[in-house]
Amino acid sequence: MTSVNTSLLQKSDGSAELLLGSTKVIASVTGPIEPKARQELPNQASLEILIRPAVGLATTREKLLEDKLRSLLQSIIVRFKYPRQLIQVVVQFLISDSKRTETDLVDYTSNDLNAAINCCYYALIDAGIALKASFVSLSIAVKNGNLTVNPTVYELAQSDSHHVICFNIEKGKANKILLLESQGDIKEDELFAMISKAVEEAEKVHHEQQRKFVKEKVENDYVWKQ
């Protein structure tokens, strides 16, 4: 179950709300704006990433998610287009799999990371920030060699390994891996089988969801429509 809704925040340059499985997240993009003096970079845009959990205050868990998201976004945003400027990305989780009080399950951050990345894609498009390419992220659980895309937290808990994989999409083809976070007991052949299956899945998501969304968005937002 995936649903996207954009431009819902009035005061930011771009925003998106994404429901992916049982994770709901809202991302806002403000920028390019003037940075604080210490953030300013002479030849490219600086990024400020803030992640807020669904419940409570941000902890080291969110710091690590911020770090992963930053390493991805700084390579996909065309940063030299906005020298001496700041792009601020705020990700607020509304519903998150983690820290469910009714369960005693261990904490998995992979669904959160996956939802944050995908939501940032729509928010960056909405803000009109130049991107080098499209990107699609997938959360995958592997159990006995079988893949589950967008697993629930229970499926994660019973999996052998779990992965977040983000592809760079150019001309409708997933041509390189931008980010891979894999944990658990991973066998090498399983890993490469997972990657090749994920390529198909990511292209499917790109064609069926992202392209459709961007097309509709341009049609609706176009000022001179008939």
Partner: protein
């Protein structure tokens, strides 16, 4: 018209003002700025003595490792929490494991709030040990806790355990039905940091595994008054002090070292009170290795190379495509963290395979 002279800098000055150019020049002659080969790891020394644990009553496991001038000191202390027994009924395979709670501190000559780097290192360590399924929850649960009994004749306390002193224990009026578990608190201090953040994670991971493999857990007993105890740890349940119906019992760690027992890690065999010699501490956990990928210009073409164990300012600031792998010697990968940060030097699947292969070989040699 004045002729514009070409400015030249000595190598160490160039390395500071243009680290990327300096790095490219080094790599094009087949050397790294730290004079290592491309896939050569920095040697790591692991201290074999157990001095910190032996001389500090509240430290139950420790390790000291050195890589160049970088020194990592890891001490593990214990906490006791009450566990909710009914919650464990459901069987979730990954839910049977727990992790350490690390606090990483990089000595910089000033104090203050932890930096992002320290927070990220701690959290990565916390998550990777959890997901590598190393510490079973059962290994930390406290079984057969004893009771301290005051003997009025001698004026001393004696501790009786249900498994060690079954006859005496039957006579004690012992009605304590709560279950407790240990929590592992790992304090990691890093001195004279020289290596990159990703190499620092490798060292922290290694030191935590080393400290865990040496960890000895004490017996726990309950006393009704707090007097006469050596190490007293307040349980989390006693946060309700001052409310109605709080028992005055204290949870104590027995400092009798003869009763210490080793932590049984998942996949590691424990023989008596020490790990079997043929088994290394890193067999079950794996060894963490990190790589950077950078392309260097080479006559008309560019060549992409894999650099192992990043070190120094030049490598840290100019290499954005990074790879971190925890592999065991049994061909199982516990963690991969890959970021393709540089579009010129892309991590291909072949490079990933190559890096996995190197990590496995390194795990076999540790």
């Amino acid at each position: 018209m004045a002729e514009l002279k070409q400015v030249s800098f000595p190598p160490d000055v160039l390395a500071r003002i243009a680290p990327d150019i300096s790095l490219h020049r080094h790599l094009s002659v087949g050397l790294r700025p730290n004079l290592r080969n491309f896939t050569e790891f920095k040697p790591v020394d692991i201290a074999s003595n157990n001095e910190i644990t032996d001389s500090n009553a509240n430290v139950f496991g420790s390790s000291v490792i050195k890589s160049g001038s970088t020194t990592v000191i890891n001490t593990i202390t214990l906490g006791v929490v009450e566990v909710n027994r009914s919650a464990n009924a459901a069987t979730h395979s990954n839910n049977d494991f727990t992790t350490v709670y690390p606090v990483v501190e990089i000595a910089r000559g000033r104090s203050g709030a932890p930096t992002d780097e320290e927070m990220i290192l701690s959290q990565t360590l916390h998550e990777s040990i959890l997901h590598s399924r190393l510490i079973p929850k059962t290994a930390l649960s406290i079984k057969n806790y004893g009771s301290a009994v005051y003997d009025a004749a001698t004026g001393k306390y004696t501790i009786y355990y249900p498994d060690l002193n079954p006859d005496e224990f039957e006579l004690i009026n012992f009605n304590h039905s709560k279950s407790y578990s240990f929590v592992l608190l790992s304090h990691i201090k890093i001195f004279s940091k020289q290596v990159s953040t990703s190499s620092l994670f490798d060292l922290c991971h290694m030191s935590t595994i080393q400290a865990l493999s040496r960890l000895a857990l004490p017996r726990v007993y309950i006393s009704d008054t707090s007097s006469g105890t050596k190490v007293s740890i307040r349980s989390r349940s006693s946060n309700t002090r001052g409310l109605v119906g709080v028992s005055k019992s204290n949870i104590n760690l027995d400092s009798n070292k003869d009763l210490y027992y080793p932590l049984s890690l998942n996949g590691a065999t424990v023989d008596g009170d020490a790990m079997v010699d043929s088994e290394g501490p890193f067999d079950a956990s794996g060894v963490s290795s990190n790589f950077g990928i950078i392309s260097i210009p080479e006559e008309e073409d560019r060549k992409t190379v894999l650099l192992a164990d990043l070190e120094g300012e030049a490598e840290e600031s100019s290499i954005l495509s990074r790879l971190s792998i925890i592999a065991t010697k049994d061909n199982v990968i516990k963690k991969i963290s890959l970021v393709n940060g540089d579009s010129d030097s892309e991590i291909t699947l072949d490079l990933l395979k190559q890096a996995i292969e190197i990590s496995k070989i390194r795990a076999q040699q540790m």
